[in-house]
Symmetry: C2
Subunit: 316 residues, 2 copies
């Protein structure tokens, strides 16, 4: 009997990773190509499709392609398009789902990367059996996928779940979106570099220390070694994240909130202050019944598993 | 042919209103009883049921009771209970849906009043045909019902949609919930009295002017007459409400946000500053495509229509 496989593709600003995934979340093929080398989206589609077709030619007796799932920045689930993504070279509206379905002659589902990862968590991670949860990625920015009654919330235009751009402080830090005080300017791997550098220097210092800090892991290592500023940077980040998550509960009352990505790997340094602030700021009716947990998806596989789960969710 | 009617019951701290509603939203019976006169919930159930039974005895040939919908403070949709409602005399957990179904031998659905009103808006008001919207009541507090993909968001415990208790300013105004800075301490009929009195006096004044202002209508009348403080009070309220609603869009990306209740009756005085602040604070991808509109339910009928719509939604 032939076994069905789903292609999971994650379009990133730097690299596009893709793979073939079976119904249990086992990745049987995994590849990466540099996104920016492809001048046109059609070229990327051709390159990925060739890899996939080659695999099926080789193992055609055992496997068949059941569909393609794509996680992409500014991915529109309803239209299958990437729309005006700031971190991709391709401009305008890219009908990526159609390009893949024309080439590979199968069903293609596309959404943004955080929504895909949320479904990945539901099928292959810590949210198995959960109907109401929120998935947060703490990477370059803060991404989110909201699941209500077993389904991702897309909203009327497919762009629901942009918690990174909740305005926490109306006159706060400048955000890349053009506004001020967005959550992701305080709570992301990028943001903690800024917080840490602000602690090293008066905030009006003109030297860009944040730009010289290699990554959030550097601050984590400092914290492990007992550096007070590093620990304070995590506390400050967790304090704001906990408040934002407490407010989020008032929207969809999730059972669990999952944290994923660079910052979430800092363990107690980030979870402890986040949970303390969360419980302190929760409305009484929600207290002591909502968990904040690390994602159970591995950093390396989450993007592919998430994208593939877009298809598997409807088939399992 | 007998026509089906649904009983809609709205449990309030002061009065309980109830009525019989047909599938088009026509109210054929409408009554009110003082909630606090009933020492036990069973007594209220008996009194309301008698009214309903009497109506059907009189008109039995024409009508039959298709079910009962109840809007209630702290109403738990999953359990059919009222749980620890601060503004009701009955303590603990009240199995109100079961009490009614035991007595009237029909299907009973219970949820909180704002959720019920949101469904009322969808069936009988301005949200006909809409799948994604948010319904906000600006009364004594700020209540909300969130609709995603045609269904009210209940969350894992049925207590989703408490936007009145989003913390806007961590060290802000004291809220009745015990925390500080909740949205409803700035944006509600009660809150604008406080804002107006703060504008009349320095904020540290000990005289409770807010307590002497009869209602939000008083401030509205002042604004109509050109009173600068009254107009400023509406602007201040709208400024914060607009920011909160812009943040709300990042959760569920609604097509429309409906405002209902005392404050929403102030027309441009509240809608203009709210919409200005809303558009200013929206993330780019959401700008100029989401409407903020007054509810199309009448103040007098909304509670009964909302409650009845809980049943009609599943039957229409």
């Amino acid at each position: 009997m032939t076994q069905q496989l789903v292609a999971g593709i994650d379009i990133g600003g730097t690299n596009t990773v893709f793979g073939l995934v079976d119904s249990t979340g086992n990745i049987v093929l995994k590849k990466s190509v540099p996104t920016e080398h492809f001048l046109l989206p059609d070229d990327l589609v051709a390159a990925i499709s060739e890899h996939i077709e080659k695999y099926f030619l080789e193992f055609s007796k055992n496997y068949e392609l059941a569909g393609v799932g794509i996680g992409a920045p500014n991915g529109n689930y309803f239209k299958g398009t990437i729309e005006l993504a700031a971190n991709l070279k391709w401009k305008g509206i890219i009908p990526l789902a159609k390009l893949f379905s024309d080439r590979l002659k199968c069903k293609v589902i596309l959404t943004n990367d955080a929504n895909a990862a949320a479904i990945g968590e539901m099928l292959f991670g810590g949210a198995k059996g959960m109907k109401d949860f929120i998935f947060i990625t703490l990477g370059t920015g803060l991404g989110s996928g909201i699941v209500v009654n077993g389904e991702v919330v897309y909203g009327h235009d497919s762009f629901a779940g942009e918690l990174g751009h909740i305005i926490m402080f109306p006159d706060g830090r400048q955000c890349g979106c053009g506004r001020k005080g967005c959550l992701e300017t305080y709570c992301s791997a990028t943001a903690i570099k800024r917080t840490y550098s602000d602690l090293l220097l008066p905030s009006d210092a003109k030297t860009d220390i944040a730009g010289k800090i290699p990554d959030a892991k550097y601050i984590y290592d400092k914290a492990v070694s007992g550096d007070k500023n590093a620990i304070e940077a995590f506390n400050y980040t967790g304090d704001i994240l906990g408040l934002a998550l407490a407010n989020s509960v008032a929207y969809t009352s999730p059972q669990t909130i999952f944290l994923f990505g660079g910052l979430a790997l800092a363990g107690d340094f980030i979870f402890k202050p986040t949970i303390e602030s969360f419980e302190k700021n929760l409305l009484n009716i929600y207290k002591n019944k909502i968990k904040i947990l690390p994602s159970q998806l591995s950093e390396n596989d989450a993007a592919i598993l998430g994208a593939a789960s877009l298809l598997w969710k409807g088939m399992c």
